[in-house]
Amino acid sequence: MATGAMDDLAGRFADRAVRSVFIYTREAHPAENYRHHASMDDKRRNARAFLEHSKVRRRILLDDLEGTAHRAYGSLPNMTWIVGRGGMIHYKSAWTSEADVADALEGVLDFQANRAKRQWVAFYSERSAWSTRDMAKFKAGLERAGPQAVADYQRMLEANKASRAAPAEEVGPRIPGNFYRTEDESGNR
């Protein structure tokens, strides 16, 4: 996760009427050191360990034990959403890229400041986004969680070996964050 970069973004935009928070979900890769949550106390304990380790400067809010908010927003492990003043969703992203969030946020602030004056009307749109995957940092996180997290992830890699061994030229290595299929996979030639 780009925790530090997102904290910096929060600081840069704080005086522009932007409130940034971190919602703590289930453990994505539970293991010996940070187990899955069987109670809210488990969740609070792991969230405090996360705060201690990551020094997150944003407000941390805990979802309930059943993940009611997380499930309603799509259950992915590191999403970012931008909600405009009043409650309209302006941005939803399967993963968190500070640069992409900043770009979207500038657009949202421009829209909110100028829509009446310029008679702008919001409409639905989709686009792709991208970020660098820091695998060394990701693997360090798995090791911090414990051997089980490393083994679980390795098992997933083995299961997906064929697609990961042949990354698509257009999108790079496969991650659970896009719809892309090659022509062979999709049957569309």
């Binding site: 996760m1 997102m6 009427a17 932007v18 409130r19 928070v21 971190f22 919602i23 703590y24 979900t25 289930r26 453990e27 994505a28 539970p30 940070y34 899955h36 069987a38 792991n46 969230a47 705060l51 380790h53 407000r59 941390i60 809010l61 805990l62 309930d64 993940g67 908010a69 309603a72 927003y73 799509g74 259950s75 992915l76 999403m79 970012t80 959403w81 931008i82 909600v83 405009g84 003043r85 009043g86 409650g87 309209m88 969703i89 941005y91 939803k92 968190t96 969030v101 946020l105 909110q112 919001a122 409409f123 749109s125 911090r144 969680a145 997290a149 992830y153 997933m156 659970p176 896009n178």
Partner: protein
């Protein structure tokens, strides 16, 4: 087949997870759903809608692991 619990004890990639996010979760231009959350620092209950009542809200989801 019984679905896996939300707080799974062992990570297994779920191929449906991304589709849930992309196809079934709310979309841009929809109204954001609001749920009660707990402030880690104070223990107070916070309604998500309070986050965007007077400001733009940037909401990142995540965990330690």
């Amino acid at each position: 087949m019984q679905s896996s619990p939300y707080n799974y004890s062992e990570f297994v990639a779920n191929p449906e997870e991304f589709s849930e996010f992309a196809l079934h979760a709310p979309k841009a231009t929809m109204r954001a759903p609001s749920f009660p959350l707990e402030d880690l620092a104070t223990g107070e209950t916070v309604q998500m809608s309070e986050l965007w009542k007077t400001q733009v809200a940037v909401i990142e989801f995540g965990s330690f692991t």
